[in-house]
């Protein structure tokens, strides 16, 4: 037996001692991208807060911001999985437009009786969205036709059907209020408002602006509960790790992270509470984001998608049914595109032929700004969400500033390029 072949067990001890700080440092480095992105979002928000002289964070504007961008973020959740699995979907804007038109036709034009109820229509539309995803995913997964081509075809097909459904260039509306609430509604205040400063009514019978301060208490409650739950689960996860003898991230880092996130969340919740409360669409988005974080981080299907994107052949040889998994990723994308289409239609109050036009590019940009790799296998849900908000805040902020739409495009393009260059540079260095 040669001496070099025998492993020296004592070296393991030294390794274990060093492991602690090294793991912490590597955890910090791997999360740096995520923190950096959130810091960038905060910096951009602060920048626009100044350049718009405080308009950005006004409660009304925050509500607008959420309502304008929620469909991008909803679709970005699906697009993240598509891109992580090594594909692309160019059809999402057209599918959203088509579903919006279909929903409008079902609710307003076609005599469907009880089936024109907004809830029923929405459910049917989501199912059809899933069917569209399956139809496209089938060619991609089982016939290995590049997703770029299949979804480019889908983009043309569904935009065409959307326009044909609406009968050429006309729009269909108005949509029922119950449906519009999906985008422009707010959660009801079941607890009842709390008046901090009673409104002052002037001689003309009008309320003096800024005098009344009433809080939407249900919103406050939801916010506080969410923040407490976030802190509690964070702490509990830490404790379990430590009990099993594993290193958790440094406590100081954990505290700072939790405090900053909570403070930011509570600030936003407070702003919403002083207006009409939390928008319904924000709640829908919040639930979806939480769901997708859970699916990607904790569930076997999420793990398998990442493995497939990282090395499809190795995943297949590990017993993963890559074809079926690809199909499911596109079904999911179809359902979320449909939801995006419903949100757009609900916000506009009508279906228009150009609904969602070009939004696939915003969605894809959000995912790439969020750090996903065009090669597949890499990308985070939170990254895509933050990327979506970066795009949204820039849109909103520049609009308020009165920047020309043409130049807005230029700036967004530069931000996308900058974010990806920064990412590639970071990776090469590390």
């Amino acid at each position: 037996m040669s001496t070099e072949s025998a492993p020296a067990p004592k070296s393991g001890v030294a390794e274990d001692v060093q492991q602690g700080p090294r793991v912490a440092v590597s955890a910090l480095i791997t999360n740096l991208r995520e923190y950096g992105l959130i810091l960038a979002l905060i910096a951009i928000m602060v920048f626009f807060q100044f350049t718009t002289s405080g308009t950005l964070f006004k409660p009304v504007n925050l509500s607008n911001l959420v309502q304008q961008n929620s469909f991008i973020i909803v679709m970005a959740l699906g697009m993240l999985l598509v891109i992580v699995s090594g594909h692309i979907d160019l059809s999402v804007g057209s599918v959203a437009g088509f579903i919006g038109a279909l929903a409008a036709m079902m609710m307003v034009i076609w005599p469907l009786g009880p089936f024109s109820n907004p809830l029923v229509v929405s459910i049917i539309c989501l199912i059809i969205g899933g069917g569209i995803g399956a139809a496209q995913g089938y060619w991609i997964a089982y016939h290995r036709i590049p997703s770029f081509i299949v979804t480019l075809a889908g983009m043309l097909i569904f935009r065409g059907i959307c326009q044909a459904l609406l009968g050429g260039g006309s729009s269909v509306g108005p949509l029922p209020d119950g449906f519009k609430a999906l985008s422009s509604g707010f959660i009801p205040d079941v607890i009842g408002p709390l008046t901090l400063i009673p409104p002052t009514v002037n001689a003309a019978g009008k309320t003096i602006i800024g005098s009344g301060l009433t809080l939407h208490m249900t919103t406050i409650l939801i916010g506080v509960v969410a923040v407490l739950a976030y802190a509690y689960f964070g702490l509990r996860a830490r404790r379990t790790r430590e009990q099993h003898g594993y290193e958790a991230e440094p406590f100081a880092l954990f505290v700072v992270k939790t405090l900053v996130t909570s403070a930011l969340a509570l600030f936003l919740v407070y702003q919403f509470a002083t207006y009409k409360g939390l928008p319904i669409v924000l709640m829908v988005m919040g639930v979806l984001i939480a769901l997708f974080v859970f699916v990607t981080k904790r569930m076997t299907i999420g793990r398998r998608i990442y493995a497939m994107g990282g090395n499809a052949k190795a995943a297949q040889l590990s017993g993963i049914k890559t074809e079926r998994l690809t199909l499911m990723v596109f079904v999911n994308m179809g359902v979320l595109s449909a939801l995006g289409g419903l949100i757009i239609a609900a916000r506009l109050g009508q279906a228009v032929p150009a609904a969602g036009l070009g939004s696939e590019l915003d969605v894809i940009a959000a995912v790439f700004i969020g750090g996903a790799s065009a090669m597949g296998g890499v990308g985070q849900v939170i990254g895509a969400v933050v990327g979506g908000f970066i795009m949204g805040v820039m849109n909103n902020g520049m609009s308020i500033m009165g920047v020309n739409v043409d130049w807005q495009q230029v700036v967004k393009g530069l931000v996308l390029l900058g974010a990806v260059v920064f990412d590639v540079y970071n990776k090469n260095k590390g």
Partner: protein, 510 residues
């Protein structure tokens, strides 16, 4: 006789951790066919890469003297300029371009970047006539067979005014008839004064055309034989003549009942539908037994294993698989895994690992249900499993959170092994488990194999390194050209016996 056209003196080439060539000498005379033979990994291809400038001058020690002057090739272009052309084992033709376009690729008859197609095609026709290929120069490469593609490669070499033609395993993927035609062509070139170096495993071919044979083993020149001394026995002895020392852990085999039995297994090529890659193979493995499959590259061993493992290779797969006497369905990877079969690939980077993910995620990938409940992964259990296997297989890394792409070959192999051990198979197929890893890591892999066998697993090891098979297996199958051409107990086997089975099988296949 004729003068020396090429002399390579004391060539030494080192890769990180491995000495691929040490003081190799090769002397080739003008107008001869000089065969270079040796086992897989002996250093033949490396030597040719040194000669053609793929490894630039300065990255190796020693001297190359070509037609009386010492050469320092910085790249393939330099050596081609001097008339040295190498035709690689994997053909370097662009499938969707025509024969003429391929022959003059990068070397087109053109003025100001505008190609003169007439001149190209006229010259191509002349070249094709020289190599005896009757095809229209406009035919796309993808539409002609491998044998004809080989001829196009040679025509391409001729277009470069070749003086010294190097062929690396030219007949490896050719039929018997195409091989004969190619060898005849070499003899024809010899009459025209072109010198050839022929790298080959096939000793009957060497016997037929070579004027001299140089044998390389473990990166060293063993001897050069002249025509009159060439015999298969002599070559085999020189190729394998190395002693078995204690590079293998001792083990006491406890062999039980047959676990896996494969009957009459046949597979056709996935693209060339008429080509049968595996021709009716029968094989069995017992509990606690380590069975080896020996053979040369291209014998069909990997194709056999992959077709068995969830039809991951090939088409029109027929045959029967029995696990403990009962027929089982292995038509998909997940079914094979469920039945307790695992396949550890020979190409861990392409087929084994997700290189952009860390060790922990790679280890649990084939058995995610083992670390999850209701499809939700238990992070702590996963971490415990990963750490456990890291310790068991002795993976050297800072933690289980290290990217597998940053690990050394040996450690990567241990991660792939861990992945399959965690899937808890009954039958483990290891394809070239020690390829490209250093001696120390090899010993560790052998130890793991021995331990698994003693735990009652049935193990199949595919290896091109005969000493390795002799050192770690109980029984050895010999495979050649898609057939089983021999079976022997490891205690009776020797490298000569295996080589003989292969060489004899070669004749049978024709």
């Amino acid at each position: 006789m004729a003068s020396t056209i090429l002399e390579m003196r004391d060539i030494t080439k080192t890769f990180p951790g491995v000495k691929a060539l040490s003081n190799v000498n090769l002397s080739v005379e003008e107008g001869e066919i000089h065969a270079v033979v040796g086992e897989n990994g002996a250093g033949k291809s490396t030597l040719m890469k040194v000669l053609s400038g793929v490894y630039a001058s300065g990255t190796y020690d020693g001297a190359i003297v070509y037609r009386g002057e010492e050469c320092h090739f910085k790249g393939i272009h330099d050596s081609e300029h001097k008339g040295i052309v190498i035709i690689h084992q994997e053909l370097a033709l662009v499938p969707m371009l025509s024969i003429a376009e391929n022959i003059f690729l990068g070397n087109e008859h053109a003025r100001f970047g505008i190609i003169d197609w007439n001149a190209n095609e006229t010259r191509t026709s002349a070249l094709l006539k020289k190599v005896g290929l009757k095809e229209d120069p406009k035919t796309l490469i993808t539409n002609i067979g491998v044998g004809k593609q080989q001829l196009v490669e040679i025509a391409k070499a001729l277009s470069k005014e070749v003086k010294l033609l190097i062929l690396d395993e030219p007949t490896a993927s050719l039929s018997e008839k195409d091989s004969q035609a190619l060898l005849d062509l070499l003899l024809e070139f010899k009459r025209q004064g072109i010198t050839s170096i022929l790298i080959s495993h096939k000793l009957n071919e060497v016997n037929r055309v070579a004027d001299k044979v140089t044998i390389i083993r473990d990166g060293r020149t063993i001897e050069t034989l002249a025509k009159k001394d060439i015999s298969e026995d002599r070559i085999i002895t020189s190729m394998v003549g190395r002693s078995l020392d204690d590079r293998y852990p001792p083990r006491e085999p406890k062999i039980g009942d047959v676990v896996l039995q494969v009957k009459n297994w046949s597979v056709y090529h996935p693209i060339h539908a008429e080509r049968q890659v595996i021709k009716g193979i029968d094989i069995n493995v017992r509990k606690g037994e380590v069975v080896g499959i020996a053979g040369l590259m291209g014998a069909g061993r990997t194709e056999f294993a992959m077709s068995l493992f969830g039809r991951s290779y090939g088409r029109r797969i027929t045959g029967e698989v029995l696990l403990k006497g009962k027929p089982i369905d292995v038509s998909s990877v997940s079914k094979a895994v469920e039945h307790g079969i695992a396949y550890v690939t020979e190409d861990r980077k392409t087929y084994g690992l997700n290189l952009i993910d860390h060790i922990k995620h790679n280890i649990t990938l084939a058995n995610l249900p083992g670390v999850s409940r209701h499809a939700v992964i238990d992070d702590l259990r996963e971490l415990a499993v990963a750490n456990d296997y890291k310790a068991k297989t002795n993976i050297r890394s800072s933690s289980v959170y290290q990217m597998t792409g940053n690990l050394s070959g040996g450690n990567q192999q241990k991660v792939v092994l861990s992945k399959w051990l965690f899937a808890n198979p009954e039958v483990l197929i290891l394809d070239e488990p020690t390829r490209g890893i250093d001696v120390g890591a090899k010993y560790e892999i052998y130890t793991i194999i021995a331990r698994l066998a003693s735990e009652g697993k049935a193990i199949i090891v595919i290896s091109s390194e005969m000493p390795e098979l002799l050192g770690i297996t109980d029984r050895i199958y010999v495979m050649n050209e898609g057939r089983m051409v021999g079976e022997m107990a490891a205690s009776d086997a020797s490298q000569e016996k295996i080589m003989r089975a292969i060489v004899r099988g070669e004749g049978k296949a024709s």
